[in-house]
Structures are given as C-alpha cells and as structure tokens.
Amino acid sequence: MNGVPILSLVTFVPLLGAVLIAFIPRGHVRLIRYGALAASLAAFALSLAALADFDPGASGFQFVEQWDWIPAFGIRYKLGIDGISLALVVLTTLLTWISILASFGPIRERVKEYMISFLVLEVGMIGVFVALDLFLFYVFWEIVLVPMYLIIGIWGGANRIYATIKFVLYTLVGSLLMLVAILATAFAWQAGHGGDWTGAFDYEQLRGYAFDGTLQTLAFGAFFLAFAIKVPMFPFHTWLPDAHVEAPTAGSVILAGVLLKLGGYGFIRYSLPLFPDAAHAWAPAIIVLSVIAIVYGAIVALVQPDFKKLVAYSSVSHMGFVTLGIFVFQPQALEGAIVQMVGHGLITGALFLCVGVLYERTHDRELAKMGGLAEPVPLYAATLGFFALASLGLPGLAGFVGEFLVLLGTWAVNPPVAAISAGVVILSATYLLWMFQRVAFGELSDFLRGLGQHLTDMSPVELLTLSPLVALTVVFGLFPALILELLHGPVATILARTGGGLDLLGLVR
C-alpha cells in the first residue's frame, strides 16, 4: 500500500461522509442513517486494511505522512501509528459503526445533525490516535469535545444541559493547560536549538529531547491534568457519571469505549516519553490515586441505584487499572494497561448498549424496578450476563488478560499495591452479579409486568450491534496475543525512554 495515505483516509473518510450527509435533505432519514453507517463502515474497513498491512515487528511509526502546515513555527501535518495507536484506532472505528447502528432506533429527532456529529466525533478520536505533531494532536483533541457536547446536550436525558456543560468545561480546563504546556515545550525546544522552530512540535523529535527539570514538572502536571480528567482519575471523575447518565446510549458507548482511552493513550504516548523524570517523580502519587480510583469506583458502584451510574463508576474502577499499569513502568503492566483499555472499550461499551436496550423498552434505569428478565427476554439476559461476567474479569474473556497483566506487573514492583488493587475483584464480582441478579433473576417485577407487550427480546439490529462485541470479547480473551503482538515494540520503546524500575517505598526486589 505504498503511497496511499491510509491514515489520512481513515481519519477523514468520516468527515467526507459528514459533508455528504449535510447535503441530504433532512426528510430522507433512512438515507442519512445508512449514509452515516456506510461512512463509518468505510473507516472501519480502512482501519482493518491498515491493520492487515501493519508490520508488528518493525520499530518506530508506520504509514507516516507529513506535510508542512505552519512552517513558521515548525508545525506539521504529521500522522503515523505504532501498535498502540493501531489497536485503539481499530477499536474506535469498530465502536463508531456499532454506535451509529445502535442509534437507528433510539434517535428519531434531528437525525441529520446527530449523524454528522457522530462522524465528526470519529474524525477527532482517530486524529488523536494518529497525530504525531503536538499541535495537530491538540487540534484533534479539542475537535472531540464539540460533537460530544452536542450529542449529550441535544439528544440527552432530562438533565442534559447541566451534564454536557460540566463535561465540556471540566475537560476544557485540563486541555487548555495542556495547550500551554505544548507551547512551553515548543519554546523550550526552539530556545535549545538556537531559535530554530523546526521540529518544535514534532513528537518524534521532542521524544528524544531532554527538557529541564522544572519545565518537565510543570508540563507534566498540565498534561496530567488533561489526561487525568479524561480517564477519569479520582478525584476528577465526577463529570463522568453525569455525562453517562444523560448521554444517549450511543454517546455513552463512545464515551466509555473511546473517549476515556484518549486519556490513557495520552499518558502512554506523551506524558511518559516526553517527561520521563517528572513521570518518575509523580508516579507514586499517581499510583496512589489509581488505587483509590480502583477501590473507590468499585465501592461507589456497589451502592448505585441507577443502572447506568453503576456501569459508569465501574469504568472509574477499571480505568484505575489502566493508570496503575502505566505508572509502575513495568513491561507486563504497561502492555496489560493497553489490553485493558481495549477490553474495557469492548465490554463497557457493550454494557452501555445493554442498558440502552433495556431503556428503550422501559424508559427507566432504576435497578430496583427491574427483576426477572431472564424468563421473558432470555437472549437479552444472557447477553447482559455475559458482559457482566466479562466485566468482572472472568478468565477466558477480554477483561481478564489486561487486569491480570497489570496486577502481575504491579506485584513485581510493589506487592502491597497489587494486593489492594486485586482485592477489588471481589467488589466487582459483587456489584456486577448483584446488578445482574436484580435485573435478570427472581420473579418478573410489577413494573416490568406492566409493560406487557412492550417487553420484547432483542431486535435484529440490537443483536447485530452486540454480537461483534460478544465475539471479540471471547476472541481477545482466548487469543490476547492478537493485541499483545502489536505492543511489544512500542512498549519497549517507551519504557526504554522512560526507564523502568520504579522504586516505591523501597520495596523493589
């Protein structure tokens, strides 16, 4: 595929779709829906083509494209991927078409605007993963905000305005500081190169540059805030439950499935290699926050009466494993963190779809009103049960491998931290099985009985959205090598740059 700008294609095919949809009259709802689906499927196919052509053995970035953009400041349009970004790009394109398909039923108002928002959102998300220029990265990073703001704010639930403004302002606070930090690093680079701006925003160049201690500390802090809010880490997580509860189903899927990964990806791609010394200095604090998030998210999930909030808090807990895995600077843990991101994207995305299926029929998410669904809607109950089990880390499914590797790597660095985090498997089993029991087991609740004929099992479209996720959850559980093979090279590169051997409380072997 020499010469084909595959990454630009993947990134901008959805945009092309969005532009074309803009010209379709708003009455042609079916055409708009299928057009959006086609655009997202095209992006998915292109990302698979990139995957097929990707050489996991090669070091460095592949499919690199670069053109000057703002030459005066050395800002370039530069794209490229390694195994980490590739895995997340494919996850993004997959979840996007699933989300668009899942929106066919629930979204009936302003379909055109909705689909355009979704496709633009996809552009931003893919762009973040493929950008290799810090300025370009920032642009994509902010593009993501706008459509998500609209999706929650227009097609959301009752309290959507509050939720969406909170989401945007919260994430904006972090990302604006990140912009300052990006500029600071660029100025430092320029000052260090005799006033030459060339390469001042180029990730590959900056990665090899040793910034001085103070700048590292401050810039790391700014990047950290942006990424930590996105992940979200305790105590910056409170926008998440609100956003999730108010967002439409597909919005929640993307939010949990991809948007949270932007934060984790940012840590891996930028925070560690650019500011290795600061990363080491900050690591103990971040590990403590991660452990708090893991435990805290699980406990709070335990007492949530709202189905969606429960899943949202479980995300906080699961993403805690990601940040933990990143900041112990240990190969197994870092690979585990990335696998965990992919697994969490699939599983939690699917759980939100399951919530959506139920909400479509009941227009309610209160767990106390549910019960006994296993009898009237066995297929739904089985699917929900499957993903609940996957989410609690049942071995053989995708959720297990990441969590296990993170904990294994953490144990090698600091056993007590690993032990505390591992203890959460008990809590996660508790809240997920309790949720499943309240939804599926027992006699059919009066509330659900009242729905009568409306309580139908999953429709073909819903089945179509969930079945690829079921299949992939099994496949990645049984053959995690499919992802892991992509990660060895980049992880080694990043750790070689960052340096391993975190000495926490002096407990290293």
Binding site: V300, L389, F404, A418
Partner: protein, 658 residues
C-alpha cells in the same frame, strides 16, 4: 495421546456449544448431544487415565513424571509467557477417573431427574460447560490455566446453583458462592503473582524446579515460600469451602440435586485438594504452611460435623458432611499423607456422589420436599434408593470393607504416625460424629413412622431407571473401590500409582515409610469402633424403635429435650445456627459494608462533586455580580468608551505616560 487429551476437552465444550445453539428447539430430546458427548469423553478419559496409570507410552517418565504438551501460546507479554498447556500424570489420572465417571453418571441421572424442567437444555449445556472446565482444571500444566479453569468451574457453579433463578434464595446462593470463591481466588491470584516474580515461570514442573533451586541456592527467604504456599492455599480454602470460607457450600444446595452431587460433592470442591497435592513441592518446602493446612482442615472437619448434627434439610446434612470430609482431606495433605488424601478424594467422590444422587431420588419421590421432618419410613416405598443410600452411608461412616473405611483410616493413621496427635484425636472424634449424623439422616428419612404429607404419601414412587442405574453403579463402585485401591492396608494400588509422585515431598518433610504394624491395626480397630459407636447411637435414637428408649417420638419434643439440658443447649443452638457464621458475615459485609458504601457515595456526591459544582457556583455568582453594568444599551457602552477616551487623554496630558 495429544489427540486424545485434546478430544477430552473438545467433546464437552462442543456439547456445550451445540446444546446452547440448538438445544432450545430440541425440547425433551435435548439430552442426546450433551450426554453423548460426556459418555464419549468418559471413554476417552478412561483410556487416558489407564494409559498413564499403567505406564504406557508416552507415560514412561521417572518419578511419576507425566506427559505434557502445549496447545498454543496464550499470553505472550515480554518475558511473561503462558501457554495453554496440558499435562497428564498419575495424579491427573486419578482425578480423571472420578471426574469422568461421576460426571458421566450424573449426566445420565439428570435425563430422568430434570425431565419436567422447562430449562432442560440449559441444564445440560451448563453441565457440559462444567465438565469442560473441570477437565481443564485437572489437565492444566501451569498455574494460570489452572486459575482460568478454577474461575470457570466457579462460573458453572454460579450458573447451576442459580439454575432456578426465579427463586430468590437460589439467586442469592449463587451470588454468594461466586463472591466467597472470589475471596479465595484473590489469594490464589496473588500466589500466582508471587510464583512468577520469584521463579519467572508459571509452568508447574519448571516452577517447582526453579523454586527448589532458588531455595538450595539460598536466594529465597523461608517466609517467602511459606507466604506463597499460604496464598495458594487461600484459593483452595475458597474452592473447597474450608473454614472460614465454608459458608457458601451449604447454600449451594439451592441448585438441582445432580449439580450438588457432581459439583458440590464429587468434583469441583475437590479442586482445592487437588491443587495443594499438585503444588506439593511448594508445600513441602514450607512446613509451617503444612501445619496451617492440617489445622484448617481438621477444624473444618469438626466444625461442619457439629453443624450437620442438627440440620433438617437432607441436602444440607450432606453438604456439611462434604465440608467435613474435605476437611479430612486437607488434614491428610497437611500431615504429609498426600496419597491418602487423594485416595479419600477418589472414594469420597464416589460415595458422596452416590449419597447426593440418592437424596435426589428421595426428593423426587416425595415431590421436591427436602425437609427430613416431613419424611420417614421411606425404606419400603423406595427400596432401590434406600439400599444404595445405605451403602453410601455405611461407606461414609467408615465401616469396612466399604470405600470410606480405607481412605479415612489411612489419613488418621498417617496423622498419628507423623506426629500430628491433635489432628488424629479430632479426626477420631469426627469419625464417630460422621457415623452418627449420617445415620440420623438415614433414620429420619427411611426409618420410623412416615411423616410425609398425606397428599404426597399416596404418590410416592421409585425413580425411573435412568436414575436408578447410576445409583446402582455408584453403589457398586463404592463397595469395591476401597478394597481395589486400598488393599492391602500397608500399601494398596493407589500407593503404587501416586507414591512416586509425592516421594520428593515426603523426603523433604522427613517422613519415612514405616512398616505396617500392630500400631496401625490398633488405630484401625479404634476408629472402626468409634464409627460403630456413632452409628449405633444414631440407630438407637432415630431407628425404627426409637420410642422405646425414652426418646420422644415427635421431633419437636426431641429438640425441646435437648434444649433443656444446660450444657447441651448452647451447643445445640450453635449447631442449629451454624455457629453464627452467616450472621457474622452478614453483619460485617452486608451491613457494615453497605454503610461504608453509602458513606462513600455521599462523599462522592457532596464532597468531590460538590467542590466541582462549588467552583462553578462561584464563577456563576461572580458573573451575576458583574452583570449589573451590562445594561445592553449601546449608548451606555459608548459613554464608557468616551469617558475612557477622556480619561486617557487627561492621563496623557498629565504626563502619566512619559
């Protein structure tokens, strides 16, 4: 051989897949595929097991070295790699015999037992999935695959306990089983981490060798080995329902009876015993951990036996007896009698499977009634069930020459010989207790006056042949297997099979093979006497003529009588209330844990989110304050501009800018 072993795993999982996909449409015929798969798997399993036990190629290694191979590389993550590897040696073979045979018979039995259940196909699908997981568990060649299977059997147990999900108690019991098991699994997984960080591999043989080398080289503190052993043992405590994680097993009786027989008596709960036996090189290096194993085991044995005394649910009596017998096995492992423990595992698998299936037959006969207070006098009505259960109970009581006698006495004898006198003494008492509560159960169920509901009494019927045949076969096995494997007493066939495997561990522990002598004969006679005593007591109290012995005929009166004795009263209440463990855990985890959760939620919404909203509120308030000057009238703004201009001009003239 690789093909056979792979086939052994492939058959049940294929049966599961096929049944899950098309079972619903097959209705009453849904059993053909899964039962067929398991019967075939049984045949394959027997071939594999006996090739291993008789040393056919490729099982020709020294010291019980088995045959292993890898299906594919499961997790490659840098210098951490795990294969989906399988391994068969004599220990695996012994387990295969139990798992395949009992599994096969339970499948056949379920054809009849579950006949009227709407979830017929679902039941068989789960059972097949369980068989796959259990076979994977015994075939695993490394800790992680073992752990995977460990969790998968837990999942199947969850699904099958909660099989009748409409019943709230079943749903709760299923959840409880899974969560309590997870507590054990937590320890197990930490043990796995520790093994990997210490020796850099998870493969059993490599890890054991690596550990031995490290210890020999002095690179490992003794406490670390003990720590690893204890962490792994935690997993066993959870899965095999030992104190303090024993609470889930009695509740698990909410599942259909064939499940109780297969999973919660004959196979899954033995996984802990198997795992400790498999990891014997680690435990042999950590004598302190061995003491803990023995202590936990024997304590569970007497605790469970004391609770079994007063239970009125027939399946719960059997559940507590299972706990108690598992306790024996751990005691055996702890005192270094690995072979005896596995021997007991095998015999117990058969006779406890038999007892559970028999209890299922009883329950079936009296129309899903499990309360023994509403049974009685059933011996004549269901003679097949009665006869086979009598065999099982005698075996469990340890009456020669039935299965339980051989294995139980080996454990007790080894405990005595290896110097664990307390273990022996407690085990000796428990032997009598076991005989007593088993025959209390027999008495309440089969003897005396019928207390069956008159409406039901007329319709009591013996079970169909598909259920009777497994009972008879298991009874036959119970009669012969003890003598077959355990005779002569100084070293039966089972020793020839397994002793080479455990020889290095025994050497490390400094245990010698002593000649079978007068002491052993005395011990055997003593425990048989103890069992007979317990049995006789039960027969006297609960037998046909119990009324003659100033022992009230009505059950409620008996309870009152026991409660009236001051010392016995506390013990009686403790037994009835299961020593209040459920209440304690409820208080600790549900009440206190729930409060903590609610408090954190409050903290999250008020403090964490409150501060975020607080910032927003302050900002909004500031904006509201400044808004006063925004009149929206162009001229006001223009006036501002003009005044500003004037001010700037004045400032310029005043020389402020110079």
């Amino acid at each position: 051989m690789e093909t056979l072993v792979t086939l052994l795993l492939a058959l049940p999982i294929a049966g599961f897949g096929a049944t899950a996909l098309v079972g619903r449409r097959l209705g009453r015929q849904a059993f053909w595929l899964p039962v067929g798969a398991i019967v075939t798997a049984w045949a394959v399993g027997m071939v594999v097991a006996f090739s291993a036990l008789t040393g056919q190629p490729p099982f020709t290694g020294e010291h019980g070295q088995g045959f292993g191979f890898s299906l594919y590389r499961w997790i490659p993550a840098g210098d951490f790699t795990v294969d989906l590897g399988l391994y068969v040696d004599n220990l695996t073979a012994a387990l295969l015999i139990v798992v395949c045979t009992v599994g096969m018979l339970v499948h056949v039995y379920s054809i009849g037992y579950m006949e009227h259940d709407p979830g017929y196909w679902r039941f068989f699908a789960y059972l097949n999935l369980f068989m796959f997981s259990m076979l994977l568990l015994v075939l695993a060649d490394n800790f992680l695959v073992l752990f995977v299977a460990w969790e998968l059997v837990g999942l199947c147990s969850y699904l099958l306990i909660g099989f009748w999900y409409k019943r709230r108690s079943a749903a709760l019991a299923a959840k409880k089983a899974f969560i309590v098991n997870r507590v054990g699994d937590l320890g197990f997984s930490l043990g796995i981490f520790a093994v990997w960080t210490t020796v850099g591999t998870l493969n059993f043989q490599d890890a054991f060798r690596g550990l031995d080398q490290k210890i020999a080289a002095g690179a490992l503190e003794p406490w670390m080995v003990t720590g690893i052993a204890l962490l792994i043992f935690t997993g066993a405590v959870g899965k095999s329902a030992q104190f303090p994680l024993h609470v889930w097993l009695p509740d698990a009786m909410e599942g259909p009876t064939p499940v109780s027989a297969l999973i919660h008596a004959a196979t899954m709960v033995n996984a802990g015993v198997y795992m400790v036996a498999r990891a014997n090189p680690i435990f042999a290096q950590a004598p302190e951990a061995m003491v803990v194993v023995a202590g936990v085991g024997i304590f569970t044995a007497i605790l469970a036996a004391s609770i079994a005394f007063t239970q009125n649910d027939i399946k719960r009596v059997l559940a507590y007896s299972t706990l108690s017998q598992l306790g024996y096995m751990f005691a055996g492992l702890g005192v270094g009698a690995f072979t005896a423990a596995i021997f007991h595992l095998v015999t117990h698998g058969f006779f406890k499977g038999l007892l559970f299936l028999g209890s299922g037959s009883v329950i079936h006969a009296v129309h899903e009634e499990q309360d023994m207070r509403k049974m009685g006098g059933l011996a004549r009505r269901i003679p097949w069930t009665y006869a086979t259960m009598l065999v099982g109970s005698l075996a469990m009581a340890g009456i020669p020459p039935l299965a339980g006698f051989f294995s139980k006495d080996e454990i007790l004898g080894s405990a005595f010989r290896n110097g664990f006198l307390v273990v022996w003494a407690v085990g000796f008492v428990v032997a009598g207790m076991s005989a007593f509560y088993m025959f209390r159960m027999m008495g309440l169920t089969f003897w005396g006056e019928s207390r069956v509901d008159p409406h039901v009494a007329a319709k009591i019927h013996e079970s169909p042949w598909s259920m009777r045949v497994p009972l008879v076969l298991l009874a036959a096995a119970t009669v012969v297997i003890g003598a077959l494997l355990g005779w002569p007493l100084e070293g039966g066939t089972i020793h020839a099979w397994l002793d080479p495997l455990f020889e290095p561990a025994r050497e490390l522990l400094g245990l010698e093979h002593e000649a079978f002598g007068g002491l052993d004969v005395a011990l055997v006679l003593a425990s048989v006497a103890m069992a007979t005593l317990g049995l006789a007591g039960a027969v006297r109290l609960f037998g046909a003529g119990a009324g003659r012995f100033r022992w009230p005929a009505r059950l409620a009166d008996r309870d009152a009588l026991v409660a009236s004795v001051p010392g016995a009263r506390f013990l009686y209440r403790a037994s009835v209330n299961k020593w209040w463990f459920d209440d304690l855990y409820h208080l600790l985890f549900v009440v206190i844990g729930g409060r903590a959760g609610a408090a954190l939620r409050w903290f999250d919404e008020r403090i964490v989110d409150g501060s975020v909203n607080g910032i927003a509120t302050v900002t909004v308030a500031a904006g509201r304050g400044l808004r006063v000057i925004q009149t929206g009238r162009v001229q006001n703004y223009a006036m501002g501009i003009a005044l500003g201009l004037v001010a700037l001009t004045l400032a310029y003239l005043a020389g402020l800018f110079r």
